[in-house]
């Protein structure tokens, strides 16, 4: 490979890394080029190590590097083959989307469906697709059904697709557009070369298989412990209750002949927030509650001031279970006996009970974390209860496992999003990132 060609490849390779979130700038690129001059570039292992050392600076970036390297620095024919495969996947996906648009029409006009809803439609068997089409056709032919009926029909179709989403085993999902080239996006999203730890951390909770759950639990515990250590080490300067720094004061006043003309103060450690966690364990949250509990379990080990509640139709304070020094399995066994698991959600009841029975926990220092999909009975009453609850605490963060693009589809999400910060928590990495940035 000539020097120019090598540089060209390296620039594009770095571009691909950057598009995937690796912070590799021009300085790193220069380091990489310099490093390549110090090794034998024909030796693949040395070549890879040199690039990794210069371009990658975080443990989390290692997997991205490995994957991209393994796809990028391969024989040209193989790369072309992979890209061709990616292009075919993209074309197939686009055809499926167009097909869904074409087939799901009301009076000659496509129904307003999201990308994900069309994906679910594509995953249905021909028989089930036909049933849905027949339903639309029959509706179209109904008496007094005019164009104004379209939104009603759309809602019915959307509900039906929501039902099917949980029934269909494999919904074709397009990778997030990252690199600007769909073929590369498809190639890089394949699970090849991903290490188990990181791939689990980046997997949607609902897609984690039951065999992987112990591994995910261990990972969640590890991440939350790391995060908890981080939360407990924050410093901030304060103007109140300053502590005299004797060494600093003496040093500062040497130039005044040892007379204490200027006083120096030391910093005071900022008080950690008091965390109040409300976990929704109702039926709709079944897949997520277990792992969320794991995360809270890890946090409870290191943060003293944490209060935990679980709720569905009823609410229970479960802090004591986390504080007994029990293993996670023992805690889950105790919580598993709780009657709320798997039932419906009544948020207003939970919030009103906390305000009434545990009002001492709601202070201006309390940061509340609600983990719920927002689906609740009596939404309006819940909104009012939430407003009142919010006024009593410092901040409320709402974690929802619903995909961001679906938030618009739910009135409950839209309404709560107006009142508070809504955050995604579909993956362990989501939880860690958001906790460290927002709450730390």
């Amino acid at each position: 490979m000539t020097r120019d060609l090598l540089e060209e490849h390296l620039v594009y390779f770095t571009y691909l890394l950057r598009k995937q979130g690796v912070k590799a700038g021009t300085a790193e690129l220069q380091d990489a080029l310099q490093a390549l001059h110090l090794i034998d570039p024909s030796d693949e292992r040395s070549f890879k190590t040199a690039l990794r050392g210069a371009l990658i600076k975080k443990p989390a970036e290692r997997e991205i590097f490995e994957k991209t390297f393994n796809h990028y620095f391969v024989a040209d024919w193989k790369k072309q083959q992979q890209l061709e495969h990616g292009r075919k996947q993209e074309n197939k996906y686009q055809e499926q989307q167009q097909m869904a648009e074409k087939e799901l029409q009301f009076k000659g006009e496509s129904l307003d469906l999201s990308r994900e809803e069309k994906e679910v439609y594509s995953a249905l068997s021909t028989g089930d697709q036909d049933k849905l089409k027949d339903f639309i056709r029959e509706t179209e032919q109904g008496k007094k059904v005019d164009y104004s009926f379209k939104p009603v029909l759309e809602n019915l179709v959307k509900s039906s697709l929501r039902y099917w989403k949980n029934q269909v085993s494999q919904v074709p999902q397009r990778p997030e557009p990252v690199t600007g080239d769909p073929a590369w996006d498809w190639m890089l999203c394949s699970p090849e070369g991903a290490s188990e730890g990181n791939s689990l951390a980046n997997t949607d909770f609902k897609d984690i298989s039951s065999e992987d759950i112990p591994q995910a639990v261990a990972l969640a515990r590890k991440m939350s412990l790391r995060l908890a250590k981080m939360l407990s080490r924050r410093y901030r300067s304060t103007r109140k209750k300053k502590i005299l720094n004797v060494r600093g004061t003496l040093r500062e006043n040497i130039s005044y002949g040892g007379y204490l003309a200027r006083l120096k103060y030391s910093y005071k450690r900022a008080r950690k927030p008091r965390l109040l966690v409300l976990g929704d364990v109702s039926g709709s949250m079944q897949r997520y509650s277990g792992l969320v509990m794991t995360f809270i379990y890890g946090l409870s080990w290191a943060i003293k001031e944490i209060e935990c509640f679980i709720f569905a139709e009823e609410i229970s304070r479960v802090t004591s279970h986390f504080k007994k020094g029990l293993s996670f399995e023992e805690v889950m066994q105790q919580l598993g006996d709780h009657a709320s698991w798997g039932k419906g959600t009544c948020l207003y009841h939970a919030l009103e009970r906390i305000s009434a029975d545990y009002h001492s926990l709601l202070t201006p220092r309390t940061v509340a974390v609600i983990i719920s999909d927002t689906r609740t009975t009596s939404l309006d009453r819940s909104l009012e209860a939430f407003r009142q609850f919010q006024n009593k605490v410092k901040e409320v963060y709402w974690f929802t496992p619903l995909p961001g693009e679906e938030w618009e589809n739910y009135r409950s999400v839209r309404e709560f999003e107006r009142l508070t910060t809504m955050l995604p928590c579909r993956r362990l990495t989501d939880l860690e990132r958001v906790f460290s940035k927002k709450i730390g």
């Binding site: 110090l38 040395s46 600076k57 591994q215 261990a218 981080m230 040892g258 293993s327």
Partner: protein, 293 residues
């Protein structure tokens, strides 16, 4: 002092008691050649600090260590004025009615206390500066640190700018307890150290404790790897703990592991009550023996 190539560096590290993979040697070599700090991350006990020490032995450069902790500041890391000595000097000049003291008399090198960073920068010979557990220091100190590491010069208001006589070989280690800033990371060559493979760990045991024998080394290395891969164990045994375990077994005159021996020496490689309980109740020595044989 400086190794001519990767092979020589590997040999020197081996002589210094540090046995590692080719990729690790190459990354260290690149950091040395590019004159960049080496940032090492990895789980506790994989040999991050030891790399700094071994590098100092391998390159025959003195080691200067800066142990980071919460509250570490410039005064403890860079320099401080010996204010007791300065006060005595002021008092003396007053008592003895000497001629008037100038500020420059007090803020001279006689009163300067060099701390590790300044010591490394002002050293006549090239030094290895080991900044250990950098994730434990505060954000402010980290920001100060990357300024020092980018220019290798520091400004002392009373003395002026002090430039490095010899740019030190800088090794930073981190246990990832806190996310380091991108600015610091960008200035470094990055190395992630993982636990060694069984073969590599056997080589480490044989090198450090040749009296252990092939069978015992292999048994222990496999046992330790088994525990590290078990998600139920929270505090994985480190390389140092492996060596301690082997050392104890050698003292006990054992040539191979047995279930009862594992149970008797559990405290040497599992250091938390939860892990010991998990091992006894869920994993069990006989099952582990089955897996490692």
């Amino acid at each position: 002092m400086f190794p001519q190539g990767i092979r020589e560096l590997r040999e020197r590290l081996k002589k210094a008691g540090y046995i590692c993979d080719e990729e690790i040697v190459l990354t260290v070599y690149l950091a040395l050649k590019l004159n960049k700090p080496l940032l090492i991350e990895g789980a506790p006990g994989v040999g991050k600090t030891e790399m700094g020490k071994a590098l100092s032995r391998a390159l025959e450069a003195g080691l200067i260590r800066l142990q980071c902790y919460e509250g570490l500041d410039e005064n403890k890391a860079l320099y401080e004025w010996n204010y007791q000595k300065q006060l005595i000097r002021i008092q003396l000049s007053r008592e003895l009615q000497q001629e008037e003291l100038n500020e420059s008399d007090l803020f001279s090198e006689d009163y300067l206390l060099e701390r590790p960073l300044l010591k490394a920068i002002r050293s006549e010979n090239k030094k290895v500066l080991l900044i250990d557990e950098v994730d434990k220091c505060d954000h402010e100190f980290e920001a100060f640190l990357f300024e020092v590491l980018s220019d290798y010069q520091v400004s002392i208001p009373e003395l002026g700018t002090v430039e490095a006589r010899n740019i030190p070989i800088v090794v930073l280690t981190s246990n990832s307890e806190r996310e380091l800033s991108d600015a610091l990371r960008r200035r470094c060559i990055y190395l992630y150290l993982d636990y060694p493979t069984v073969e590599r760990e056997v080589a480490i045991i044989n090198h450090q404790l040749p009296e252990a024998g092939e069978k015992l080394s292999s048994n222990v290395a496999r046992a330790v790897e088994y525990l590290r891969n078990d998600g139920r164990i929270q505090k994985k045994p480190s390389i140092a703990e492996t060596l301690d375990w082997v050392r104890a077994l050698v003292e006990m005159d054992r040539e191979r592991l047995t279930s009862s021996l594992i149970n008797e020496t559990l405290n040497l490689f599992l250091k938390s009550r939860n892990d010991q309980r998990t091992f006894k109740e869920e994993i069990g020595a006989p099952q582990m023996m089955e897996q490692i044989n």
